[in-house]
């Protein structure tokens, strides 16, 4: 943590809310049971990092940190730790907090003091959201925990300590919460709490008393009893005095805190006019916004007040009432949650109750009170909205149960908001930066905040908005610097400085709409100051002229290259910002940046430092002002977010979301149950690739390794009659099909140039080389821009070519199978993703009858994060039906699909004979007896079902109508349960195990990246020994769990371990076999990942998979219980014994290699262990392979029908 300290003044640091909470939690606890969940994961990561660095807590000991398998597990472990006397904590949010609730009831019931630090986050309902509101806190409010809410980064640090101290003194557990992202991820300059203050508040006597109450065989007691009607109720009421005392104790702690730090807090803090008539009640970061708005409005003559709720539970009605001014006439209570069906939202209800119960006998009239909702899932909450709430209170009949911040044209709950109202003070420097995830913009801005925080008296705030896509994502940084404390917990809409770090954004986003008149616009552009003007989009030219802006350009990419920095322009753009913004004198700023570079990059080697220093020196000479004298002669309007052929919903709703204008959509634009159309990613032409593969049909051997490995379905093959190619665009290519079965047909390989991410995997895996010039392959990269238009035509022509009849494709032969249409395309996964090729393959094979349960994680984000989805439909309108339930329950969720579908199919099958007279025995018999074992059979069954529906339509009986609604179930559905290793190995393992044991016909696909990828690479039980991961900074000490072996032990589960990049044919076999197996199937799919520390976007994934297999680190095998029926060993090993050791593989991935740089001794030891793991495992499988199972052959226990009896 960067901190600075004046000689005797307070110590400041520029940190975010998560670090602020971690700072206190780490110092004041002894045991931490943790589990990653956004947005709280960084708290645990900080603690783990400090522990790995040997940092001690207040009592000089290293806190014990243990990662659990779920939040439920973390809460259980904390519960146990508390019962045995250690100061214990955990960190969580949203669904994680919900999983803790059972233990939270217990912990509170047992009066065990602890603090859970919660980054308040939306609970998933019609959709998952990672962003902030209080729905999780409110879901936990009945657990009996005290709840203290912080509104800013400073308060997060302060309240982390206050809650810790109050919990011990009150003997009650506290939830300390602060708003997810808005506070947890906001970087601000705050005063650090000195250790002396923490020590003063953490009362040793109280801690000793607490320890004395801990369970011990030295003074044994019994807790957790079961009680009967005669005792429970009284016991429950016995704790009342503890709750009654808690508010007073908390206030005493706050008062003591104030005496030590000068920062005063009250359980209910009042701000505003002492004689206010209209008062707003609110908690969380919105309180800061309201504070700013109230002060602003009162300066304009209003008499408004604000009550900031700090201690939400126990709700101290008396203090709440005392906080209200006597003059109050009308109160609005804002809740950042929604409780459908309730009489009002929770905080509102508490306030209403307090007022209704007010018997203080004061002379005042009971004030009017209304409640409203705001800010769900981090929806912007601005001073204009605060004003709207006060305006509502001033109305003759104020709207109750209103919403603010959206346009509700369905239930008409929303308040009108004045778009132009702003409280942004003029003396605050406000800057917006648009960058690409990979260009270091956010890092540079975080660094700038630190520099300014540490070198000036300025207060500083940084907030960062990220993309929901992982490849080619845009980041927007919002930075404020001012002399007064910054309470503006909302995005900047009036910037003095706007910087566009990537020229490609110009054609798509209206970045200048937030620039104030006379503001500065900085553009990174390859064009010179003389060339740039006519190359700007017309609206950009107009905005610059209208605003009389100052316009600067720099060719940062060239400066970066010249400085040896490759594509990283962060330092250069940072220097430009300092040069233009005037926050610091230029020379001082440059010196500060250089110092910061030495500090930031020093430990990564002097070379990096020198490159960055060179970049600083090269920047100012290349920064130019462009005079605004040109005519309005730009390149035209902004590009539309979706293509012109998009359906209306995609264009009008999803397109607006994609364009960043979703906030402007009204309620009526949205489905009420969270249902969205599929096949929508095709309309977002993201044009991410700088270079795309170009096919050389003369060299190509038509093996289709390119298509099977392509993570984005942007390179595809078809075969067709030559006549269909007549009228093809001039540059459209084809070749004679090489497969004997397709003699006379033309083979086409086509790239979707505008959807390709340029990940290079296809080029890397292409085995066909030019015989005279080895470096040329059948696929070679060429710049995308010159090819964009011609390839767009070619792609559209390709799409219009008919798909080959699936009955003519042998799905067991990769070079044939790969012409099947992918029904998963253009996802927002990382460029070069190792997971998505498996999903694409799945949809090619079974997509037209697949129903998918997807555990939360990467695959649910690139699969189902708005605005668009990669899941697609074929020409018949069929395609995967997809749903995400939760992280932890996915196997059970998918099993539910199977049970439901089987039941409906069974009912249909029961009805068919009853209606045989009308339907015909032949049709009924064929429908019931169809094996549906292959595409031909499935197509035939579909035809029968179509005939059935036609006949049923003519029948008028309850049975016929019932059967009509069930008829489609007669076509076999393929149930897929999909998730990552975090789900399968850890949080969802119990359910997965149960589903495997169920015998039901479900297919479980585990996309094993060997870490929690989506939350940033935390260790899972799939992490191999020696890998560096979050929570395993010293290398994972233990062996990877062998999930496949566990599943095989059931004997009735089909199990396969595959690595597509190593052996695509084996992967294909496994998918086909798994799907055809009439019981549970488990596929463990090795998925290379950005969290492996590999150059994912340079196409190395397949190579890494092959290395992993070649050295025995990853085994390829298939375990098919059907083989046992034939007297064969069900296990087949599909990889030869390793000829090389694992060391070379380990050193080829930085997740392992970096251990040699951080802990060389541990690396040596763990790498040796990794070799032992691989050897032992191979030997074990070899042993299993050698078993003679004929003697032991027992009658099959596998499910032969979908209705197999589940275990009791």
């Amino acid at each position: 943590m960067a901190a600075n300290k004046n000689s005797d003044g307070p110590c400041f640091a520029t940190i975010d809310g998560n670090e602020a909470a971690a700072y206190v939690a780490y110092r004041t606890n002894e045991v931490m049971a943790i589990y990653p969940i956004t947005p709280s994961s960084p708290i645990a990561e900080w603690c783990d990092q400090w522990a790995s660095e040997g940092k001690r807590n207040l009592w000089g000991t290293l806190p014990a940190i243990v990662e659990m398998q779920s939040e439920g597990g973390a809460a259980g472990a904390v519960h146990g730790s508390l019962q045995t006397g250690a100061l214990s904590t955990t960190f969580t949010a949203s669904q994680g907090l919900l999983l803790m609730i059972p233990n939270m009831f217990k912990i509170a019931g047992e009066l065990l003091p602890a603090v859970f630090h919660v980054t308040a986050r939306t609970v998933a309902t019609h959709a998952l959201s990672i962003f902030g509101d209080h729905s999780d806190i409110m879901a936990a409010r009945s657990t009996g925990w005290a709840m203290l809410g912080a509104a800013s980064v400073q308060e997060t640090m302060d309240f982390a300590l206050i809650s810790q101290a109050a919990a011990l003194r009150a003997s009650l557990p506290f939830v300390h919460f602060f708003d997810g992202f808005r506070t947890s991820h906001e970087v601000a300059k705050i005063q650090l709490l000195p250790d002396e203050v923490m020590r003063a508040l953490m009362d040793d006597t109280v801690i000793a008393e607490r320890r004395a109450r801990a369970m011990s065989p030295d003074h044994p007691v019994l807790r957790g009893t079961a009680q009967n009607p005669d005792a429970f109720f009284q016991g429950r009421e016995a704790a009342n005095p503890v709750y009654a005392l808690c508010p007073d104790i908390t206030q005493q702690v706050m008062d003591q805190f104030a005496s030590l730090t000068g920062r005063h807090y009250k359980l209910f803090d009042y701000v505003g006019a002492p004689d206010a008539q209209r008062v707003l009640v609110i908690m969380g970061s919105g309180a800061e916004v309201a504070h700013e708005a109230v002060e602003h409005l009162n300066r304009r003559g209003e008499k408004l007040g604000l009550v900031k709720v700090r201690l939400y539970r126990p709700f101290d009605s008396a203090r709440f009432l005392r906080a209200l001014p006597a003059s109050v006439k009308a109160i609005a209570v804002l809740d950042r949650t929604k409780e459908p069906g309730a009489a009002g939202e929770p905080l509102y209800q508490d306030c209403v109750t307090a007022l209704a119960e007010d018997r203080s006998g004061g002379p005042r009239q009971p004030p009017l009170i209304v409640g409203g909702r705001y800010g769900l899932s981090s929806k912007e909450f601005t001073p204009a909205m605060v004003k709207a709430v006060f305006d509502n209170l001033a109305a003759p009949a104020p709207k109750n149960h209103f919403t603010v911040g959206i346009t509700d044209d369905v239930s008409m709950t929303s308040l009108p908001v004045e778009a132009d109202f702003s409280t942004e003070p003029d003396d605050v420097i406000r800057a917006l930066f648009y960058g690409l995830g990979s260009d270091g913009t956010v890092g540079a801005n975080k660094n700038s905040i630190k520099i300014i925080g540490e070198n000036t008296p300025y207060c500083a705030q940084g907030y960062f908005v990220y993309d929901s896509k992982k490849s080619g994502s845009m980041t927007v940084s919002h930075l404020r610097f001012g002399r007064q404390p910054i309470r503006s917990s909302y995005l900047i809409t009036r910037a003095n400085f706007v910087a566009c770090h990537q020229p490609v954004f110009l054609e798509r986003y209206d970045m200048l709409r937030n620039l104030v008149p006379g503001g500065t616009f900085l553009l990174n552009s390859p064009f010179s100051r003389e060339e740039i003007w006519p190359r700007l989009p017309t609206p950009v030219q107009r905005a610059l002229l209208d605003r009389r802006a100052r316009f600067f350009i720099i060719d940062a990419t060239s400066v970066a290259r010249a400085s040896g920095m490759g594509g990283r322009i962060n330092t250069i753009m940072q220097v430009c910002f300092f040069a233009l913004s005037g926050v610091l004198p230029k020379d001082e700023a440059v010196e500060a940046i250089k110092q910061s570079i030495k500090k930031t990059y020093g430990r990564k080697g002097d070379q990096i430092v020198q490159m960055n220093l060179k970049a600083v020196d090269n920047t100012l000479a290349n920064l130019f002002e462009v005079p605004l004298t040109g005519p309005v002669n730009g390149t035209g309007d902004f590009l539309p977010p979706v293509t012109a052929d998009a359906p209306p919903f995609v264009r009008d709703v999803l397109g607006e979301l994609a364009a960043g204008r979703g906030d402007e959509l009204p309620v009526s634009a949205f489905p009420r149950d969270g249902t969205f159309p599929t096949a929508t990613a095709q309309f977002e032409k993201r044009n991410l690739a700088l270079d795309i593969p170009v096919w050389n049909e003369a060299i190509c051997i038509q093996c289709l390794k390119c298509t099977v490995n392509c993570p984005h379905a942007t390179i595809r093959a078809k075969v067709c009659q030559p006549a269909l190619l007549e009228g093809a665009p001039p540059t459209f290519k084809s070749a004679a099909a090489r497969a004997p079965e397709w003699k006379g047909l033309r083979f086409v390989l086509q790239v979707a140039a505008e959807d390709c991410t340029g990940c290079m995997l296809c080029v890397e895996v292409c085995p066909a080389r030019d015989k005279t010039e080895n470096k040329r392959k059948a696929l070679n990269l060429q710049p995308q821009a010159p090819l964009r238009l011609s390839e767009r035509d070619n792609w559209n022509f390709f799409l219009a070519l008919p798909e080959l009849d699936r009955r003519k494709i042998n799905p067991a032969l990769l070079r044939q199978q790969q012409v099947m249409q992918p029904l998963f395309e253009f996802s927002g996964a990382c460029a070069g993703c190792g997971e998505t090729p498996y999903l694409k393959l799945l949809t090619q094979l079974f997509g037209d009858r697949a129903i998918m349960a997807n555990a939360t994680g990467c695959s649910s984000i690139y699969g189902g994060n708005l605005p668009t989805t990669p899941y697609a439909k074929n020409a018949d309108g069929r395609g995967p039906a997809w749903c995400n339930s939760l992280f932890e329950d996915n196997a059970e969720f998918g099993l539910g699909f199977r049970i439901s579908l089987d039941k409906q199919r069974e009912l249909a099958a029961e009805l068919l004979p009853k209606l045989a007279g009308a339907l015909g025995d032949d049709l009924v018999g064929a429908l019931l007896q169809s094996s549906q074992a292959d595409e031909t059979e499935i197509a035939a069954q579909r035809e029968r079902v179509a005939a059935l529906k036609q006949k049923l339509g003519r029948l008028d009986s309850p049975d016929a109508r019932l059967l009509l609604s069930l008829a489609d179930q007669l076509v076999r559905k393929s149930v897929w349960i999909i998730g990552g290793d975090g789900w399968a190995y850890d949080i969802g393992y119990g359910g997965l195990d149960h589903v495997l044991a169920s015998g039901r016909d479900v297919n479980l696909l585990v996309l094993d990246t060997e870490v929690y990828s989506n939350t940033g690479g935390q260790m899972s039980k799939a992490t191999p020994r020696g890998a560096v991961a979050k929570f395993a900074a010293g290398g994972k000490p233990g062996r990877k769990k062998d999930l496949g072996l566990i599943a095989m032990a059931y004997g009735q589960v089909y199990v396969a371990s595959v690595a597509l990049g190593a052996r695509d044919d084996q992967t294909l076999k496994a998918f086909v076999e798994a799907e055809s197996y009439p019981g549970p199937s488990l596929i463990l799919a090795y998925s290379h990942c950005i969290a492996h520390g590999i150059a994912l976007d340079a196409g190395v994934g397949a190579r890494q998979q092959k290395m992993a297999v070649d050295c025995g680190q990853w085994l390829l095998y298939r375990f098919d219980p059907r083989r046992a029926d034939r007297g064969e060993n069900p296990l087949q090993l599909d990889c030869p014994p390793p000829k090389v050791g694992v060391q070379d593989y380990l050193l080829s991935e930085n997740r392992f290699k970096m251990l040699t740089l951080s802990k060389p001794d541990a690396a040596r030891q763990l790498f040796a262990g990794a070799q032992t793991d691989a050897t032992d495992r191979r030997n074990l499988y070899q042993f299993l392979l050698g078993r003679d199972l004929k003697a032991a052959a027992a009658p099959s226990v596998r499910a032969k029908t979908p209705a197999a009896e589940p275990p009791a």
Binding site: K604, G605, I861, G1016, A1091
Partner: protein, 336 residues
């Protein structure tokens, strides 16, 4: 039997030294070398280029994908310290010095002027008994002259010599127009020893994948002919010690090298193939030969068949080559 010899001013028990190889990366192996009778051990090379590569790669890993996606703002924990400099190598020297009593010779391959001197100083400070400069350079620039290259070699030796006080050896390739001249100039520049010769990683072709792959072949006794000739020629002409490496696989090979004038012989491929224990076998073979032929000391036989001392000095020069051709039983097209 006196097997002692002096190399780089270091008095050694025998002329059997372990050459730089991956084996010396592990302390256990160094102990086993000592136990097997090695008189000294050269550590694996510290490669400056590798350190720079590691640094850039680490930076790339820590930044790739970071600060792009709200749920995963980073993908790796960032320890406060990375051992990106030579620290681990230097610590290895220190540990090696504590683990064994035989001299420990460090090996350095730098690729910048500052790198050679600063790393050399670090190596000395870490306690190495001597330093071997592994000047691994494949010139491909047609504009660079032999003179330029040789001057660069000489300068490196001068710079390092000025920086450290421990003995400095230079491990060289044979690819010089006039090796004798280069050797003499390195000698004058202050090199305390020449190690002849370095065997580079040479590219190979995988005929299945049609890819070029760097590959190292273990030396065979054939490889010793080149150092044998040059040691024979240089013996007695330089102040610097001479170490023979490449193709030394048996006691006989050691003898040949000593006879032409090597102060020590360095073993690598033989140990990789037959195990570290091979050193004791080689020593026994050496002793057996000396006993059989009634030699009392290594000193006695050292250089006795060098160009200067042998009966047929021309045998080490081109004439010998001509004779080999003419006396070869097969046709002249099948040259050895």
């Amino acid at each position: 039997m006196d097997l002692t010899t002096t190399y780089l001013g270091l008095k050694l028990r025998t002329p059997l030294v372990c050459a730089a190889s991956p084996l010396s990366q592990q302390l256990d192996n160094l102990k086993r070398m000592e136990d097997a009778g090695a008189a000294a051990a050269v550590l694996h090379s510290l490669f400056e280029e590798q350190l720079r590569h590691d640094s850039l790669e680490l930076q790339d890993t820590l930044e790739r994908g970071a600060l792009s996606f709200p749920e995963a703002l980073s993908y790796f924990p960032e320890p406060e310290e990375f051992e990106l400099g030579p620290d681990e190598y230097l610590a290895h020297i220190e540990r090696a010095k504590q683990a064994v009593n035989i001299p420990v010779i460090a090996s350095l391959n730098a690729n910048s002027a500052g790198g050679w001197t600063s790393f050399a100083r670090g190596i000395q400070d870490a306690g190495a008994d001597a330093l071997e400069l592994n000047i691994y350079h494949i010139p491909t620039d047609a504009k660079q002259t032999a003179g330029d290259l040789e001057a660069m070699y000489i300068q490196i030796v001068r710079d390092v010599r000025a920086e450290v006080t421990i003995p400095v050896a230079v491990k060289l390739s044979p690819f010089f127009t006039n090796f004798a001249n280069v050797a003499a100039r390195l000698d004058q520049a202050g090199a305390n020893g020449l190690v002849l010769f370095n065997r580079f990683y040479q590219p190979d072709i995988d005929i299945e994948t049609l890819e070029v792959r760097p590959n190292i072949l273990r030396s065979t006794p054939m490889a010793m002919r080149l150092p044998l000739r040059w040691i024979a020629i240089l013996y007695g002409r330089l102040a610097a010690s001479l170490a023979a490496t490449s193709g030394v696989h048996s006691g006989g090979d050691v003898l040949k090298m000593l006879l032409v004038g090597a102060d020590v012989t360095m073993l690598c491929s033989a140990l990789l193939r037959d195990g570290i224990q091979k050193i004791s076998v080689v020593e026994r073979e050496l002793v057996a030969w000396m006993e059989k032929h009634e030699y009392e000391s290594v000193r006695q036989l050292k250089g006795s068949l060098s160009q200067r001392n042998c009966a047929d000095p021309a045998a080490f020069e081109r004439a010998q080559y001509m004779r080999a051709i003419t006396s070869h039983p097969a046709s002249a097209t099948e040259l050895p």
